[in-house]
């Protein structure tokens, strides 16, 4: 089974409080914030590795990022991916979901044949959840989102559980297909020192725009239909009242307020 896993390096949320807004350019200041594998993408990789253990085949990760993302790709290889492909080009910078999906889908066409493309359902930083379904649309493949279980059946058929509001649907679907995984699907494995050493031996292939046949204009900031009109930090409330006194006095005041508001 040939499986492609889309891995996105994202800024480590532990450092998000250091994010700033440049008052002049209205762009985000993110210098010095380390990257991690987007947590749900890590689960997608884990799901791929488990399928490979059962069905055989190969797991290749695909990322679109600056070359500073290398350590994150190494982590994917340490986890057990066979090969890592990095799409890196200044021309890709500023791509919105449509442009990102277009570039990723074009790379995936070059990687054919494949059975399964796995993604995380959303990323920590953008959280648009668009890319997996958009890759599927560019490739004209079926897809399912919020996937919490994948079971390979005979002759390239899968049984997939997809979470919907307050429940799930169990779906029979044929490869090739795109699945984006939800939190519930698995707990990713730990990486040992041995794994890290093995990962170091594996190949990271870097493709630039020249390596892809990008015939449509949807590339980079200029090729992105969505634009940011402005960026702002939500306003804090102006009048905050902090209650004084010991806990029992505070409780009394709060109970009194709730009473006067009609809650008791």
């Amino acid at each position: 089974m040939q499986i492609i896993v889309c891995l996105k390096p994202v800024p480590d949320p532990k450092h998000w409080h250091r994010l700033g807004l440049d008052p002049q350019t209205k762009t985000l200041i993110r210098e010095g914030i380390p990257n991690i594998i987007n947590p749900l993408d890590r689960k997608a990789l884990e799901a791929a590795l488990r399928l490979r253990e059962k069905e055989g085949g190969e797991v290749v990760t695909l990322s679109m990022a600056p070359s500073s993302a290398m350590p994150v790709l190494r982590e994917g290889l340490a986890m057990g991916a066979d090969l890592s492909i990095l799409l890196s080009d200044l021309a890709f910078a500023g791509s919105d979901a449509l442009a990102t999906s277009y570039i990723m889908a074009t790379a995936i066409k070059k990687m054919a044949p494949y059975d399964l493309i796995l993604c995380g359902n959303q990323t920590l930083d953008g959280s648009t959840s668009l890319v997996s379904a958009q890759i599927a649309e560019f490739l004209d493949l079926p897809n399912l989102m919020h996937v919490s279980a994948i079971e390979a059946q005979k002759s390239r058929v899968f049984h997939v559980r997809s979470q919907i509001e307050h429940g799930y649907m169990l779906v029979e679907i044929k490869a090739p297909l795109v699945l984006s995984v939800a939190k519930e699907i698995n707990e990713p494995r730990y990486i040992t020192l041995m794994n890290i050493l093995e990962g170091e031996k594996k190949e990271i292939r870097v493709w630039s725009s020249k390596d892809l046949s990008l015939s449509e204009p949807w590339v980079g900031l200029k090729g992105s239909p969505s634009q940011m009109a402005d960026l702002f930090i939500p306003e804090a409330k102006k009048k905050v009242e902090i209650l004084q006194g010991d806990p029992s006095e505070m409780t009394k005041t709060l109970a009194d307020r709730l009473h006067r508001m009609g809650y008791c």
């Binding site: 649309e137 429940g167 649907m169 029979e172 239909p225 409330k237 905050v240 209650l243 029992s248």
Partner: protein, 346 residues
Amino acid sequence: MAVNKTVQSKIWVFTEQRQGELAEVGLELLGKALELAHPAGWKVASVLVSHSLENGLCEQLLSFGADEVLVAHHPLLSSYCSQPYAKILENLIREHNPEVFLLGATAMGSDLGARLAVRLRTGLSAHCIGLELSPEKKLLAVVPGWGGNVLARIYSPHTQPQMATVMPGVFDMPQEKKTTGRIVAVEVNLKPEDVTYRILETKREAIQEHALERAEVIIAGGWGIGSKEDWQAVENLAEVLHGMVGATRPPVDEGWAKENQMIGQSGRTVHPKLYIGIGISGEMHHMVGIKGAEMMVAINQDPQAPIFAQCDLGLVADFKEIVPQLIGSIQNYHKTKQKDDSDLSH
């Protein structure tokens, strides 16, 4: 009989239904779309994809104020499948050229919206928590980023339609009124092979769709609660205040609270009259979900917790020294009130 199949509406709202039941977010968006469209001289269409015309859904949408209900129907459309849905809607959009196309940021809406945006090569603002129409009639969608630490206004000025998916519960349900709109029914062509997957089983809990989104009182707990045993305090306070329980991400991960109780960017967007946050630090990805709270009370030991910069009323204290006593006081008020009521009835 001559049937007018021209759709005049400039804002289209995809109205999601599963098994003949309309998702509330489709109605919330209809209400908001009407509010944006009418001052601009535009009409609003609710768009339905259905296997039948006989289920009363079109009439229901008209009663919520839709100027037009556009319904694409075919017997093969009894359950959702992204590819045929996207194909049908793409054709309708290309034929009638709406300016704006809105969907709920639900499992179905996120999937369908993403595919449609590719088919139409247009921008889509995902998981919006606000919508505005600029004087130039461009859709500005407010989107939280970086866990809600920043908000962005996103637009797609050069492509059509301008698309957005909006979080459920952000907008109020519209009032039902006298029906003045009309139904445009389109029978679509579909082959069995267009349906690219087969649903073997669907399970849904029979719970009220947006109970938390509609709650007037919400008591929410965070990481600071500390344990499953202590979580009971949150439940108890909610009970005496006839409120519902909400949570931040950590209590859900720890198993103290349920996934559907999570409030915030990756959870629910709520607007209660009263919100009491206990042991919640006030990270933006939670706060973005409670922006609509009228009265926000925070109980936290840490005076530096960011929630104290955003609440209306702050109690810097260990919740264990507050909540049990607070429950007692509330119960006393209830008893006094019952006594007063029974005295009055004598």
